[in-house]
Symmetry: D2
Subunit: 362 residues, 4 copies
Amino acid sequence: MEINVIKAGIIGATGYAGMELVRLLSHHPEVSLVHLGSRSFEGTPYVDTVGSFRDATDTYICKNATPRELAPECDVIFLALPHGIASQHIDEDILKSTCVIDLGADFRLKDVDMYQKWYGVKHGSPHLLSKSVYGLSELERDAIASANLIANPGCYTTCSILTLAPLVQAGLVSRAETGTKPLPIIIDAKSGVSGAGRKESQASHFCETNESIKAYKIGSHRHTPEIEQYLQVISGNPLAVQFTPHLVPMNRGILVTAYIPLQSEQNPAITTDDLRDLYISLYKGEKFIRVLPKGVFPETRWVKGSNFVDIGITFDERTRTIVAVGAIDNLIKGAAGQAVQNMNIRFGFDEAASLDAIPLFP
Amino acid sequence: MEINVIKAGIIGATGYAGMELVRLLSHHPEVSLVHLGSRSFEGTPYVDTVGSFRDATDTYICKNATPRELAPECDVIFLALPHGIASQHIDEDILKSTCVIDLGADFRLKDVDMYQKWYGVKHGSPHLLSKSVYGLSELERDAIASANLIANPGCYTTCSILTLAPLVQAGLVSRAETGTKPLPIIIDAKSGVSGAGRKESQASHFCETNESIKAYKIGSHRHTPEIEQYLQVISGNPLAVQFTPHLVPMNRGILVTAYIPLQSEQNPAITTDDLRDLYISLYKGEKFIRVLPKGVFPETRWVKGSNFVDIGITFDERTRTIVAVGAIDNLIKGAAGQAVQNMNIRFGFDEAASLDAIPLFP
Amino acid sequence: MEINVIKAGIIGATGYAGMELVRLLSHHPEVSLVHLGSRSFEGTPYVDTVGSFRDATDTYICKNATPRELAPECDVIFLALPHGIASQHIDEDILKSTCVIDLGADFRLKDVDMYQKWYGVKHGSPHLLSKSVYGLSELERDAIASANLIANPGCYTTCSILTLAPLVQAGLVSRAETGTKPLPIIIDAKSGVSGAGRKESQASHFCETNESIKAYKIGSHRHTPEIEQYLQVISGNPLAVQFTPHLVPMNRGILVTAYIPLQSEQNPAITTDDLRDLYISLYKGEKFIRVLPKGVFPETRWVKGSNFVDIGITFDERTRTIVAVGAIDNLIKGAAGQAVQNMNIRFGFDEAASLDAIPLFP
Amino acid sequence: MEINVIKAGIIGATGYAGMELVRLLSHHPEVSLVHLGSRSFEGTPYVDTVGSFRDATDTYICKNATPRELAPECDVIFLALPHGIASQHIDEDILKSTCVIDLGADFRLKDVDMYQKWYGVKHGSPHLLSKSVYGLSELERDAIASANLIANPGCYTTCSILTLAPLVQAGLVSRAETGTKPLPIIIDAKSGVSGAGRKESQASHFCETNESIKAYKIGSHRHTPEIEQYLQVISGNPLAVQFTPHLVPMNRGILVTAYIPLQSEQNPAITTDDLRDLYISLYKGEKFIRVLPKGVFPETRWVKGSNFVDIGITFDERTRTIVAVGAIDNLIKGAAGQAVQNMNIRFGFDEAASLDAIPLFP
């Protein structure tokens, strides 16, 4: 049934997200992987950079082609590149002949000024921002199905938005009185080290991260505007997010702990059950979202190696604060897995194709 | 100069806090360690339970004596026991002849009902609660100097209170209008696994904690009332704390990330510098508290193996939220180190005696 | 095509090997999982013991049935039990109606005295030892295909034997002169903590194993006679193994480093290429064995989450010593994966069914 | 008593060994630290590169001076540099006015050709090789006491030699018959990641080393000739070492497992007690060497943070193989600690000054 097979290329195949794309697509029943791109390893056999693929990808040699060069031979091109590059290489011609799924940040923010302020680089193709579809699979399924430029969300973003969407949709956030700022939603996020990428740096040296935890980029992490932008769309109102990422000595996983203290006049009789119902209702039928039983909260070990999002929710009556906790594997649902999910939606495949792995524990 | 040497006993010497007491006191110039207590290892040479002490403590055999039995021969008795036990073994007779430093929870809360509600056990000596001094060294130095019953604070508590005290003292918290509840201070805390003790359990099995992070006891951790009780004393007003502990795959260390969103009418012109000044002012001359430079935040690796508390503070103008971050070694400043510091204060020794180790990195 | 589906039961499904069996079999196209057995968790929903399976196995409740009770409804029964139990529960009646694959030690050694000496328990069914087939898939494929009692090899054993078999087969070991003992093959093995099982113990407490490495059971580990027994069958001569296991602070993985110093008169002109040829020849066509290129050696990260065995080999001319290094995932090729591989062989399925996962890195 | 204080400079103070020197010397009662050298961080406050030293070394700014420039003001200069640099900067003039303790490899091997072959660089001052003293404190104490050029041994080397010295001294190794090569001593060594230095590289990236173990530089690690050279001096006979290092996912620690299979005619009646007696005899009175009780073997956690060497020894009668296991903290006894110990010997201080820390566990 070769007829249904699409051809896929990956630009940036030797980083962690790229490797994960190769792993997932290697077994995809409807995808033929035709290009593993790497600028740094051009000409090198792929297995020499990632030993896990020995045998499976023995025949691949890393090449260095641009999206323009790949477009004619690929039905879908995945970009797993540092920010600022993709926007210089994508144009409408390319998007006419192929579908681009960008795992980077260039097409996520709709406001080019906001992009340039937070990322500190000039955007190479601002006219494409309005054409890009935000690839949060569960919440943008219909738009994704017909998009040729899909901006795959950031890892922290995916976990934060899915953990908060039902609450925001239900209006359970601080709203600003006229002329004042709303109180922010507090998002305290924790990530494994693979989130920082595979590039060598002293900050990701084993001995500098092992046996330690730290907060970083407090109030300045680039996923902040992305989370705010999308939650505002859901909310329909201005809304603020206080986002603090932390680095945890583990390979994979993101845990988001979000806090919404209710003001005294808000929802006097709300309960944990009410909150759980919001999640169950919004995520009904979603194969990859697991709303946990009351009193059970996510642990990253239970999602590692899978495309699952685990969410637990409680209302602390003593302090009248909503605490929502979400967990994902940052390289799968937070990157490559969601990219494949988006591809599956876009090409009409089974949405779970290649993504049905049960988490690997321990 | 044998004249200045006091005799110390440790009940619970084979747990992590107890071992750390042995380590610190072994080198203390004014302390002679006369009793290493362990119920489970009675009769066993101490080095057979903790190989690091070979040679240093070769002559010690674990014994199992009660505080009453130890009192006559000890100037100070350290208790490193699960909650509920100390309160059954301490009475005024014992306190007349010796100083008790309790690393457990029994004498920390002033309200016996609150104790019994949060700990779920009956308190064995409620009449002693008013006599106990809360052993937060930097903030209770004078009271500690003359106390015979010192309730050493919890690990999360120590880090949380020291990270927040200057803000609370300055009134920078949500205050309740009449008839309403104040918005809580959000404390998102992260701890290494040694905080859970040395006792075997599936929850602390290597494979169950390694490569994972989770929140636990959301809204119900027993350090919550302890933090609230003490911050209220500082504040002079009712105040609420939303406390969420997390388990991090590392041996030692606590990181506290605390959030205080300012309401619109509060402190319109406040800056990060203003906040840092509060810390510098309150902690001036404190040898173990390091208020970090602006823009620098704590990492547990920089305090591991030491009695230091590192604190970083920022005001996020975008969201008008104060973010304060603190780090300690949970077994030292969060347990044994602070206990020794309290002993030093109580007996008039150099407050840093045995506690001047530079952190061990990496 | 229900006709091809066999029914499988697992006794001991909540340990690490058992969980891995559930994970692998959940996706097996020809297997229906009908029983998840657990004595300790009888009556508990399976997902409450292993959160990774939420949704996937939501309907399973742990039961506690014996092999005899399961035999009528199961085509294959996997036993993942501590040693000494299986031999008391298996008899010829059971083996007439079902195939038993035992992941434990009871049916691996052919000599009942040796079993009783090394394991310190009485064997419950010594008459079955001659009927059991040693389940080292690549080397016993034909016997496995028709066996009803398959003794799945130990994790260290699998890795050690496969790493050494081509050398032993070629006679590259020390042979004893008449009346003397041969010099042993030195096997220095390193394992992740999951090899010690999921049962709680102080020895597997996170803080007791993290940030440390140790050798254990030097000269007395129970996989020693198993390795010797099988290598002697390959060799046809008496042969000794010096086996030293080490505990490494990681979840999964076994690395075996084996040394064979050649005596002065042996093989004067041998080269690394000669040795590699022995491996390539013996393992030709083996899907799960990857003989690495010259100069490349195994790392457990490249096999984690897969059924692969990676093997590197070199001849150090300076010392005239053969160094062979092998790596497996102890829970997959070292336990559950090989058990499924054996089931596939036994029932005529594709040998790689359910086992084609690419390693999960990082 | 300022009169006894010597002045010390460190060149290479921001690497792991250099940091450890700063930590140890900061508390040394007879040493004043006058220079923290760093080429990469010249002009930077030292605490900005190593946060653990905040307050303790707040006044230090990294400088970049040569040994020649430092010699006039320093009584002792520690070099913690990559190989090949020290030999270009040290000459007899410098050694006339100051004592140089080199933690690098340049002055360890006595044979300049062997150095140039194994290290692949030209030696800058071969005439100094005969003047350098090998700084293995316990075995070269007398020579160290009057040396002005001390070659501090490598980390693997220190652990390997001390673990094997009593056996080699007693002649318990394979001796070559005329015209043949001796069978090698097998040394299988395991190290934490700090052994690879602080410099960024993909190989020491957290995700590339965490959750994995590998052998590396099999038969070609540069500590091999150093071990052989020194053991031959002890033995008085030619002798070969098969040395295989492994990388373990932990910050600190080296474990050496060494194997000596006895040939059939050797020492027919030898016992474990006999072997222990050799160790006890050679290391009698050594404060930093702990010969463990029979049946107890080293674990790196019991020496972490200390200058201890733990050694366990057994004779496996079944295979007639001696197994000796040693453990050190690679940054202390394997680097900075031994350097300070050598300085103490050289300047007539208490040999344990600054080195009496009890290991930090957990």
